[in-house]
């Protein structure tokens, strides 16, 4: 009996009861014979029995409907209800209770869906309406509203993130482009600076060499001027001496004149003395002739000395002129030598400044290189590991411009002996290393794995920090070489 359905069991019980009743009636008729009362009672009991079966049937039908609705509901179809419920029927309460349950469940789902659908569109004013829902349904809907609110919040955030990401993407793409322009400019400028620096160096060296030559010329000229000076002095002396000679000749001429007069007097006296004076007269005549000759000689000396004096006067004048000219040119040459000295100094200074500007220009270029390098690393997140950006970001710290410069180029030559030079290599390696590490983390899972994303961010942060150190070391090197 246990595996028979309720309906079959009722039918079975009714059948058994009916058989028992027929048996009872049969025995009754046999014992007491058919009388009026018994027939009435029997008929009534048959009617009651049929009514009972009919009621049972109704209950069964109602239960079948209830069951069908429940099965539908269990199958996920909540739309069906029981209608046409008879007042006072045994199953009335059960039917309405089922309808109420389905009303609660269906309203619950509709409200949940409506709230989520609206929230997905960013419409937060459409909350799940809890009014009229009972107990667990209401509590659950209240929770739905909390999560819808949270969902709307995160939707807003996601929306914002998406916008930021798009703008970021835009700016990143353009940033690299802009940086490349600056990079090209710096490369060209760096080449120009190198040419200028070389020219300055040549100029400064030539100026220095010329300075020595100029100084030799100035020394020679000074010596010439000194010689002119002393010549002028000597000529002056000669001039003075010639007038002294003139005076002496004057004295000689006077002595000769007086001697002539004396000789004349002696001749007269000798004539007075007659024969005795004859020899004396000859001597007097000789003396007179001598004085005459002396006078003539003195006169011709005086004439010579006179023309000599004219020559020395002219020479003296000329020497005076020469001295004036020499003095003027001495000051001109001194000034010129000073100017040349200053020119040579400024050539030195400008060489220093050009070298410094060149170094600064180069470090700027290297900085831009590293911005571009990092940016390419970042862009790999969007553009993927096969992109041109990823390829560019794979250069290591030996191959990049800074690496080449540092290890084998001018960097080592010009900066190798500085303390700051040593501070560059490690952080530089870390910039490349960390960007490569970040790219290495970008496997298939990174977009959905928060822990992996953390690591990627951490690696990029480490690269940024190392990059700051590289920038510092570069500035430090320039300052150390050229002073603040």
């Amino acid at each position: 009996m246990t595996n028979l359905s309720l309906g079959s069991r009722i039918h079975l019980l009714a059948g058994v009861a009916f058989l028992l009743y027929v048996a009872f009636a049969f025995l009754g008729f046999r014992a007491a014979g058919a009388n009026g009362w018994m027939i009435t009672l029997m008929t009534l009991s048959v009617v009651v029995f049929i009514l009972m079966l009919y009621t049972l049937h109704r209950i069964q039908v109602a239960l079948a409907r209830i069951t069908a609705r429940m099965e539908e509901a269990a199958g996920g179809n909540l739309a069906g209800r029981i209608t046409g419920i008879r007042k006072g029927a045994a199953t009335e309460a059960a039917a309405w209770a089922l309808n109420d349950l389905l009303d609660q469940v269906e309203a619950y789902f509709r409200e949940t869906n409506a709230a989520f659908e609206h929230a997905q569109k960013g419409l937060t004013f459409r909350k799940a309406m809890t009014s009229g829902l009972h107990g667990a349904f209401r509590q659950s809907l209240e929770r739905v509203n909390v999560s819808v609110e949270a969902m709307a919040d995160s939707q807003r955030l996601v929306q914002k993130e998406r916008l930021l990401a798009r703008v970021g993407e835009l700016s990143a793409v353009n940033l690299v482009k802009d940086l490349k322009t600056i990079q090209d400019f710096l490369v060209a400028q760096n080449q120009d600076m190198r040419v200028v620096a070389n020219l300055s160096r040549e100029t400064a060296e030539e100026a220095e060499a010329s300075t020595a030559g100029i100084q030799a010329i100035v020394a020679d000229l000074n010596r010439v001027i000194d010689l002119i000076d002393s010549t002028h002095g000597q000529i002056t002396q000669i001039h003075e001496k010639s007038s002294e000679i003139q005076q002496i000749i004057q004295v000689i001429t006077e002595v000769a004149d007086k001697t002539n007069l004396l000789a004349l007097n002696a001749a007269i006296e000798a004539a007075h003395a007659g024969e005795a004076g004859k020899g004396f007269a000859v001597v007097a005549e000789e003396v007179r002739t001598l004085s005459e000759n002396t006078k003539d000689a003195a006169a011709s000396i005086a004439a010579s000395i006179g023309s000599f004096g004219l020559a020395t006067t002219r020479m003296m004048n000329d020497a005076g002129h020469m001295k004036e000219i020499a003095d003027t040119s001495r000051s001109a040459i001194t000034e010129f030598a000073g100017q040349f000295q200053r020119f040579s100094e400024s050539a030195r200074t400008s060489l220093a400044q050009v070298t410094r500007a060149q170094d600064k220009g180069f470090t700027s270029l290297v900085k831009v290189d590293h911005f571009v390098f990092k940016q390419n690393g970042y862009r790999t997140l969007q553009a993927g590991l096969d992109s041109a950006e990823a390829k560019a970001a794979r250069t290591d710290h030996h191959q990049c411009r800074l690496g080449l410069w540092y290890e084998q180029g001018e960097g080592k030559k010009a900066f190798g002996q500085l303390a700051c030079y040593d501070r560059l290599a490690l952080p530089h390696a870390r910039v490349h290393g960390n960007v490569h590490a970040a790219m290495g983390l970008l496997n298939e899972r990174w977009e959905s794995d928060p822990a992996l994303q953390e690591d990627v961010v951490a690696a990029f942060q480490a690269a940024e920090q190392a990059s700051d150190e590289v920038m510092d070391a570069l500035d430090c090197m320039v300052t150390e070489r050229h002073g603040g």
């Binding site: 739309a79 209800r81 309405w96 009303d103 269906e106 309203a107 309406m129 009014s131 829902l133 009972h134």
Partner: protein
């Protein structure tokens, strides 16, 4: 279908806080299901409700354009929320905040409509009594027909514009 419309009275019935009225209709708005709360407050027997058009509840104080909006929205497959003044069999009225949604069959086609009506907030009843009165007045002045609909719709849109909100936002916000 009750041929005789009840005469409206000033008697108000109020829905319980923890109850809601549930009803379902076919595509034409013929009632196919009503819950016990519906039967209780409307005053009709279940047998009177089933097969009757949903407008047996229509109260003369309701502007026509509200029902136009209602049908336009649900026929487009979307839900509508509306404050509705309903007429009970005994002539009394009761305010509800109705949420009406299309019901879909397994193939995703609209198979009928489903309505849950809740007890509205007192403040909302006050607001909509005023709005509906003005709209109804506009409909009357326009003398019925398309013109009446237009006039009353314009009034509703103007109200929304003044508040700077959409219909949904306004209805759910009051």
């Amino acid at each position: 279908m009750s041929a005789v419309r009840p005469t409206p009275t000033q008697q108000e019935k109020v829905l319980n806080d923890e109850d809601f009225i549930v009803s379902k209709t076919d595509l034409r708005g013929i009632i196919t299901y009503g819950n016990r709360v519906f039967i209780g407050i409307s005053g009709y027997e279940e047998s009177e409700l089933l097969g009757a058009p949903h407008n047996i509840l229509r109260h003369p104080d309701m502007p026509r354009v509200v029902f136009k909006l209602l049908w336009d929205t649900i026929q487009a497959g979307r839900e509508i929320n509306a404050y509705v003044k309903n007429l009970a069999k005994d002539g009394s009225f009761y305010w509800v905040f109705a949420n009406i949604t299309p019901a879909f069959d397994e193939r995703g086609a609209v198979s009928g409509y489903y309505s849950v009506r809740r007890k509205p907030k007192a403040a909302a009843i006050e607001t909509f009594t005023g709005i509906y009165r003005a709209m109804l007045e506009a409909e009357r002045r326009a003398g019925g027909g398309q013109a009446a609909m237009k006039a009353s719709q314009a009034l509703l849109e103007q109200t929304l514009q003044e508040k700077g909100v959409s219909y949904d936002e306004f209805v759910l916000g009051v």
